[in-house]
Amino acid sequence: MGRFWAIFFVLTAVIIFVVSWISPSQNWWFPGDGLAHSTLGSKIDDLFYLILVIVAVTFVGTNAALGYALWRGATIKQDEKVWFSHGSHSLEVIWTIVPSAILLFIALYQLDVWAAYRIKGFVKNRDGSPKQIVAVAEVTARQFEWRIRYPARGKVLKPTPQPDDLYSVNELHVPTGDLVSITLRTDDIQHAFFVPELRVKQDAVPGKLIPVWFDVTDTREYEMLCAELCGWGHYKMKAKLVAHSTEDFDAWKDQVSAEQFDDGFRKPAE
């Protein structure tokens, strides 16, 4: 019976490994086409896969050891003497140093990605010069919608609204290519700005203005949601992020501006 249980635990580990392995092919993986549609997002994905490999190797190794120990423990005869040992100093040293080296590697390896996400000076171009960040909009979360304010074409975003600012609700329009930033705030309680396919997420904290920067590589629509519990309507704080090419973005602004400042008055035809 003991062997059965050894197999039972090994089989569990095998099933878990196989399920994880086939998940991407079953569409149980990253949303959409599985790729991050932003440069910083794909760095997160790379990091994720690196950790996944390290973790998978550790998982297989530890479970193999556990399974083997159980199997041996099941096959040992009842009158046989067990291996009487209080431990091994050298083994302890090995399995302290090896994991700490791996963990330290993970800790240091990811620092730049975190820095690029959070510290402006670390956002670099390919040639190493600091990259310009374009402030596109102020995004204000409230129960249960997103209100967005853009500067008029040719103007820059100011902390306080300007008379010709443009507004939209639940639709964030951004240009592709550039590194764009939004100023995130909330009118009421805590929310979180989340665009899964860009791997962007940031809490909107009451009383704070938080800049969030990202770039979008493809011109299309992305889903945008709230990731922090904000009451009964949390699940329906649904919005979309629309990425335009730079020209389209300007055209879109002109169009919104025309609609927004249209007072309805038409001169009668001559």
Binding site: P31, G41, D188, A227
Partner: protein, 602 residues
């Protein structure tokens, strides 16, 4: 397998049959100051609360499998007003209270309350806790908490609905959510009472372990269970006051008009703008300063108990006793400086984020050492595959998964994406249910003979184990995938978003597995309560274990030991060459000096 002199065993029963404690029913079973009875009271209460917490979870799972559908039987009774459906309000209330009940009324009290109380005096050779009345109070202070949590369901506007983390302003401004009216105040009161109860326990455990050890019971001869309880008590003593203070601050904000957590100018639901210069982030810092160490309060005692049980069931000394102690101490120490990893996205200083990230990653190290040591303990042992061993193996095996998935979120850039998704839910269920609760199931079966003098049924125990194990993995493993697919936590209807629609069948599968697991718990309860009356009787030491508790009668009488124990060596001398024809050496077994020197060398 009883290894003690039968006459001694007999004498023990005779002596304790009438120990001069002919107490009334009330003083024996209700207001008892005996640590064993208090432990049993805690155990029975927490097992029943586990069913309540599990039932709430099944409500959550029902909604995720069949959103907005009438819930059969149960829904018609509880949600009759909504036509048997779970409304989004009710849904937030369900998961909030599921977490609250499971954490504050099940996991923490079952480990520290039930097993801590029952085992500490027995394993260190004391006759009771240092402060028996305080001990009884620590149990009875759980009842106001149960009352407050329970009553909060019936408040105007429904139960608390701000998540178990109770982040302001959702939990603070009564306009933010219907459940944030009086229900949230009741929830905070419940939290305070649970805190007071744990605090009383923690002070008592520290004092007892430091002062009341039997002669010869040096610190490094204590079983790992005692070490883990000791470290947990220290964690509680330092971390809990912070949460209690935060709770009082929030109550003051709610009732007295202070503004600790309220920034100025917030407008919720068209109510007048708030005044005040508070910070909502302050709550997050205070809350996680307790609640991060709390995850170790929920895990360390189970680690200790599993170490004891594994050594016994493998008939081998624990591999690397001292590294195990040091790792627990390291986990506790690091546990105090990593709370910020719950707040990577809160907009705190990025440099602070880096320090929290490095310390968080490093906490994986002692956990890894412990895992390797458990495998080392099984390695080369003569494994007894009974229910206790199966649950302990499940503990190790599930802890491996839970520990490894933790590395993803310790890596901050990856955490940006998986924070607040189901990946997190998967991770902590693997640690808190997969590891801790399997450890508890094993511990119930292991110490049941000592508690009640009878054995639990092995067959039912194994069926319970297999159903729970399969149900558990089928429920929680797919949550990793949901998280990677970007499904956020706490969504009443994720399928509202096209990119999550295809996950419905997976959620239905998980819900079916969750129901299987939920119903399997009735086997545990049945086995537990029936065995109290009908289980086969057992002697003092049915497992052939080494600890001091096994030298006392089963169940021990008032005052625990018939002969005050004297300890000669550590608790893990299974298969010791100096044990003669036995395969283990009780801590009280005297070994001549020359042989003891040989033992020290190991």
């Amino acid at each position: 397998m009883s290894t003690l002199n039968p006459t001694l065993e007999h004498a023990g029963h005779a002596e304790h049959g009438d120990h001069g404690h002919s107490q009334s029913f009330f003083f024996t079973y209700i207001w008892s100051t005996d640590h064993k009875m208090i432990g049993k009271q805690f155990l029975v209460t927490t097992l029943l609360m586990m069913m309540v917490g599990g039932g709430l979870a099944l409500g959550v799972r029902w909604q995720l499998a069949r959103p907005w559908e009438r819930m059969p039987i149960f829904g018609d009774i509880v949600f009759a007003g909504d036509g048997g459906q779970i409304s989004p309000d009710a849904y937030t209330m369900l998961f909030t209270m599921h977490a609250t009940v499971m954490i504050f009324l099940v996991i923490i009290p079952v480990l520290a309350g039930a097993f801590g109380n029952f085992l500490i005096p027995l394993q260190i050779g004391a006759d009771d806790m240092a402060f028996p009345t305080l001990n009884a109070l620590s149990y009875w202070f759980m009842w106001p908490a149960i009352f407050f949590f329970g009553a909060s369901f019936f408040m105007h506007g429904g139960g608390p609905a701000a998540g178990w983390t109770g982040y302001p302003l959702l939990s603070l401004l009564s306009e933010a959510a219907p459940g944030s009216r009086n229900a949230q105040t009741f929830w905070l009161m419940g939290l305070t009472f649970v805190g007071v109860s744990s605090m009383m326990g923690s002070v008592n455990y520290m004092t007892t372990i430091i002062n009341m050890r039997a002669p010869g019971m040096t610190l490094f001869r204590m079983p790992l269970t005692i070490w883990s309880m000791f470290i947990t008590a220290i964690l509680q003593a330092f971390a809990l006051p912070v949460l209690t203070a935060a709770g009082f601050m929030m109550v003051a904000d709610r009732l007295l008009g202070t503004c600790f957590f309220v920034p100025a100018g917030i407008v919720v639901n068209n109510a007048p703008p708030t005044v005040g210069g508070g910070q909502t982030l302050l709550w997050q810092h205070l809350f996680w300063f307790y609640s991060h160490p709390a995850v170790y309060i929920m895990l360390l005692p189970a680690m200790g108990m599993v170490s004891d049980m594994l050594a016994c069931m493998c008939r081998k000394p624990i591999f690397g006793y001292k590294p195990m102690v040091y790792s627990m101490a390291a986990i506790a120490g690091l546990g105090f400086i990593v709370w910020g990893h719950h707040m990577f996205l809160s907009g705190m200083n990025p440099a602070l984020g880096m320090t929290f990230m490095v310390s968080t990653i490093m906490i994986a190290l002692p956990s890894a050492i412990k895992t390797f040591n458990w495998i080392g303990t099984i390695w080369g042992g003569r494994v007894q595959f009974n229910t206790v061993m199966l649950n302990c193996t499940a503990f190790v095996s599930m802890f491996i998964i839970g520990g490894l998935s933790g590395i993803f979120m310790a890596a901050v850039p990856v955490d940006i994406y998986i924070h607040d998704t189901y990946f997190i839910v998967a991770h902590f269920h693997y640690v808190i249910f997969g590891a801790t609760l399997f450890g508890v199931f094993g511990a119930v079966q292991f110490w049941f003979p000592k508690m009640f003098g009878r054995m639990m049924n092995e067959t039912v125990g194994k069926i319970h184990f297999v159903l729970t194990f399969i149900g558990f993995n089928c429920t929680f493993y797919p949550m990793h995938m949901l998280g990677i697919a970007g499904m956020p936590r706490r969504y009443a209807d994720p399928y509202h978003f096209p990119y999550l629609e295809h996950l419905l069948p997976m959620n239905q599968f998980m819900t079916a597995a969750a129901f299987l697991m939920g119903f399997a718990q009735f086997l545990l309860l049945g086995n537990f309560f029936l065995s109290i009356f009908f289980g086969p009787k057992c002697g003092r030491n049915p497992w052939g274990a080494n600890g001091l508790e096994w030298t006392a009668p089963s169940p021990p009488g008032h005052g625990n030991f018939d002969i005050p124990p004297i300890v000669y060596h550590g608790p893990y001398e299974y298969g010791s060459p100096v044990a003669g024809d036995k395969d283990h050496l009780m801590q009280t077994d005297y070994v001549p000096l020359a042989q003891r020197v040989a033992l020290q060398d190991h």
